[in-house]
Amino acid sequence: MDAYSTFCLNGTTHPFSDRDDPRESLLRWLKRHRLTGTKEGCGDGDCGACTVAEVLREGDSNRLRAVNSCLLPMGQVLGRSFVTVEALATKDEVHPVQRAMVRCAGSQCGYCTPGFVMSLFVGFHEDTLGDHCIDGNLCRCTGYTTIRQAMAEVAAVPTSERPRALPRFIDQDPGFTPRSAPTFLTPATVAEAIANKTAHPDYVWITGATDTGVALSRGQPVAPGFIALDRIDELQQVHRRESSWRIGAGVTLSQLEDQLGDDLPIITEVLPWFAARQVKNRATLGGNIGSASPIGDLLPCLLALDAVIELAGPNGRRPVAAADYFLDYRRTARHNDELVTAVTFDVSPGRQAFYKVAKRQTDDISIVAAAFLVDTDSTGVIRFVRLAYGGVAAIPKRARDTEAFLLGRTLDPGTVDEAVSKLASEFAPLSDHRASKEYRMALIGNLFRQFVEAA
């Protein structure tokens, strides 16, 4: 059994051979190899007990990011470097975040604790401590007060003193070259990805694995093989010229947060509520478009922005307007042999806002999501309007009748009332375990009212 690839764990290189399953999650691999500090709470990426840190080499320096090991297939681990809770303490000394968690009584049953420790470890070294760095971690004993105290305690450590708490092995360059597993291909270019797909039409695209990873974690086979798109440089690029944007499909939600700045509130307002940190560090724009779920939170934004989705396949590249892309429940204009490469749009002037209503503030599926973009002239007459919703139909959908009604009018109370009743006639949401259709109907109108009143 020759190892065909390797990965780095806590400074040690591990071989990966035909006897290993590239679909197995990193969490399961850790358990099989008796690294039991990393816990499985849910296996769905919801609780964060399985959080580990990925080491990203950027030039001469290393960056850390927290990811859910339960969702990460080994095929996407190969050629990369990770840190688990076992590696934080030396023989003589625990890491400052561990010390703070002990001192502040931040553990009760202890099962969520390694995950919190790993999120805090990343926050400590990346200087991103704050509630958002632990919003993907659940403590069922509800010890959040003491965990936040521990976070405040380590936040007081000067940033200049933090690097010496990094495990030493972090600075070693593992020097891996990513290699494909036979059923888990890792192309480096779009052309290579398309060639892979032509050779294996039954393999499926996988990028952040935050959706497919759930199915894999639950032991569902999903597909005979996978083509991972998370190592293609072209897909990672964000370009902007004035109000024109081109965002690569492989850009993660965390990168969007970092790179979009304040100019695109319709997207940046959704990101804090889209998912928790560990998921945002893996989930991509292209994945959101590819899975095309009616509750994909970026999709209403793309509709409101009149975005164009760029697809690439054996016959070349073609643009598809977002408005024409979603056909039916999880069915899109993308052909099986095509992948999403980028999204382009020109931002129309006007006021933008995004609303999401969900039971858990982060890391939950929307009950209703709404993206609004409204531009008025100096007299308040609407000259451009987009009202796009998620969670209220089989696909993310614009309220075209209401948009047409509003065009040329002002947002006086009577018009708003009429717009709200028109909105109600445009959607027929379902009842499910998240909410009733009546509740969703109320939200459709009330979110628009909230947008109007916030002006």
């Binding site: 007990a49 625990v94 561990q98 002990v102 009760q108 049953c109 604790t113 390694p114």
Partner: protein
């Protein structure tokens, strides 16, 4: 005395082990259930031939394989471990496949052929009522003459309240592992809040005696009541597998299976009627509670009873009738969950009081206050409807202190002012009392044991009957033993909870773990102290009664310079052939155990709830 959690360092470094993480003995089998896809059905045929032939499969467990009793019910014998002919909830395991790996067991489980005849299912309390589907007999608590008082009351109100259930979501799902110890003893490691019951049920299913079975619980990643009885069946499946194959078996439920197979907090339906006067004082209350028990009885009777004795919350109900029933539905069997029915009862009382306040246009906190239990221990208005006095009732004082400290009235005015000018956003403020009974309703459970070994070198092993699930019980037991014996915490090691150290224990539940086990630990320490003092007295040439244990020595209390180090004392005791091992035992002093006096001890707290 505040100490860090005894496992804190293990928690933060990932070194603290849970049941799943103990090293697998060679040959450990994995398990996966064959689940019925119906909430209610007759099981017509079960054919595991193909599964038995599948890769890695060692055996398939069905009801036919059980050598003892096919029964895991903790109170009523109505819970077959594996169904014989009837499926009673969706996802119920009709068989378990054991294989070399869990993966192989799962693949083979899909090959088991089961045929069903579907039957009508009750999935809600309303459906159970319509079908007259209930467990056991109704319960009743009555005081005074509620019918007459209701009719005579100046005002009457009635309402219903639907109270939802809740999954425990302990972060660690259920886990069990079993193996023979090499000499004919079956050893279970289980994430159980009740090792003694797990031991008993496993012995019953296997047809063994309890002394042939040892159950250990290392620590749990949360319990919240969800592991009080629910661990038993999974331990029994593993043990059955070990009995039949001779091999170790491990079962760690995936989250989805855990949610499908285990019980949750009981949903309740409450119907209430209240008679009251213009001041909001309640003259009569008539309350019906229906708990959704699920497919089997499990712990539903005491959960229902606890709800029935908490409907008063902190309010004196002079004439009251509380009726309780347990709906039999085709759902997983609902079970213990933090509060154990108390919250479901209390919220009905609070709903009643809030509705009265709304009807009369009075501030809710005023109506609450007017109905408080009050007066001396034996005052008529200080007696609960189940015949227990609210001893040391300081709620009225606590209430006024809290209202003053929190500037409640000023804040209420600020809230009203805000609401008057804010069209969409509204604020609210409330102050709500809570009276909650601690300890078990059933008197016999209010007992605990401990076992302490002192070794030559002055180090100590501490065993007690409680389980650690994050509540810090082990840490508290360390503090008790440390104080009693005057030793630093570092001298002690809390041992894995095990039925071969402390037998016949009660569940760690009912907010009683620290009180019961702590007294047992203290009792064991006191026994040892009583044996050690004469040795010390002889060494120090003093009266034994003048001695105390402190600062790692035994010394004359009035003359601390006259002391003998603990380790030296232990050596001398050993040389004098004095036993350095002792059991401890405790039972609550006052609980009488009659239906009308339910709680051994009570506490009243008042809680601010600001929204």
């Amino acid at each position: 005395m505040s100490i860090v959690h005894e496992s804190a360092l293990g928690h933060v470094t990932g070194q603290a082990r849970y049941t799943d993480e103990l090293p697998d003995a060679p040959g450990t089998l994995g398990a996966w259930p064959v689940q019925a896809p119906h909430a209610h059905a007759r099981l017509l045929k079960l054919d595991a031939t193909k599964a038995r032939a599948a890769a890695g499969v060692v055996c398939v467990l069905t009801a036919a394989e059980i050598p003892g009793r096919n029964q895991t019910g903790p109170i009523v014998a109505d819970e077959p471990l594996l169904p014989v002919d009837e499926i009673l909830y969706y996802g119920q395991a009709v068989a378990w496949v054991l294989a070399e790996t869990e993966h192989q067991a799962r693949a083979a489980a899909a090959l088991v052929i089961a045929e069903y005849e579907t039957l009508p299912a009750c999935l809600t309390i309303a459906a159970a009522e319509a079908a007259d589907s209930f467990h056991l007999k109704p319960s009743l608590i009555e005081r005074g003459d509620p019918t007459t008082a209701m009719a005579a009351a100046p005002h009457r109100l009635a309402g219903t309240l639907d109270i939802g259930g809740q999954d425990h979501f302990y972060l660690e799902t259920h886990c069990s592992r079993t193996e023979w110890d090499g000499d004919g003893q079956l050893v279970i490691h289980s994430s159980t809040q009740h090792p003694s019951e797990t031991q008993h049920i496993v012995a019953q299913v296997l047809g063994l005696s309890s002394h042939q079975v040892t159950c250990k619980c290392l620590r749990m990643g949360g319990g919240f009541g969800g592991k009080e009885t629910q661990a038993n069946a999974f331990a029994a499946i593993c043990a059955l597998g070990t009995l039949l194959t001779g091999r170790p078996v491990k079962l760690k439920l995936h989250r989805t299976l855990d949610m499908q197979l285990t019980g949750k907090r009981h949903p309740f339906l409450a119907r209430w009627q209240a008679g009251f006067d213009a001041d909001g004082k309640i003259h009569a209350a008539d309350i019906e509670l229906i708990a959704d028990a699920g497919w089997s009885v499990d712990l539903s009777p005491p959960v229902l009873m606890r709800a029935m004795v908490h409907v008063d919350n902190a309010y004196f109900l002079p004439n009251v009738r509380v009726r309780g029933r347990m709906a039999k539905t085709h759902l997983p069997s609902n079970t213990a969950f933090r509060g154990f029915g108390g919250p479901q009862g209390m919220i009905v009382g609070e709903e009643m009081v809030a509705a009265i306040a709304t009807r009369l246009g009075l501030p809710p906190e005023l109506v609450r206050e007017r109905n408080f239990y009050r007066g001396a221990n034996d005052a008529p208005e200080n007696q609960t409807h189940y015949g227990q006095a609210v001893i040391d009732n300081h709620l009225p004082d606590l209430w006024s202190q809290l209202k003053a400290n929190s500037s409640f009235d000023e804040r209420r005015q600020a809230v009203s002012a805000f609401n008057a000018q804010s069209r969409r956003r509204k604020r609210g403020i409330a102050i709500t009392p809570v009276k909650f009974g601690i300890s078990f309703n059933k008197t016999i459970y209010n007992q605990a044991g401990a076992l302490i070994h002192i070794y030559h070198d002055g180090s100590v092993q501490l065993n007690h009957g409680g389980t650690e699930m994050g509540q810090g019980l082990h840490s508290k037991m360390l503090v008790v033993a440390s104080r009693c014996l005057g030793l630093p915490i570092s001298r002690f090691r809390v041992m894995t909870t095990s039925t071969d150290k402390v037998p016949n224990t009660s569940a760690t539940a009912a907010s009683s773990g620290s009180d019961l086990n702590g007294q047992a630990v203290a009792d064991a320490c006191n026994t040892l102290i009583a044996r050690l003092k004469p040795i010390a007295a002889a060494a120090l040439n003093c009266e034994a009664s003048s001695l105390e244990f402190a600062d790692t020595c035994c010394r004359v209390a009035d003359d601390p310079g006259r002391a003998i180090p603990f380790t030296e004392l232990v050596h001398r005791a050993y040389d004098a052939r004095i036993s350095l091992s002792a059991t401890g035992y405790y039972r609550t002093p006052k609980s009488t155990g009659t239906r009308s006096r339910c709680m051994a001890d009570r506490s009243i707290t008042s809680r601010m709830a600001l929204r």
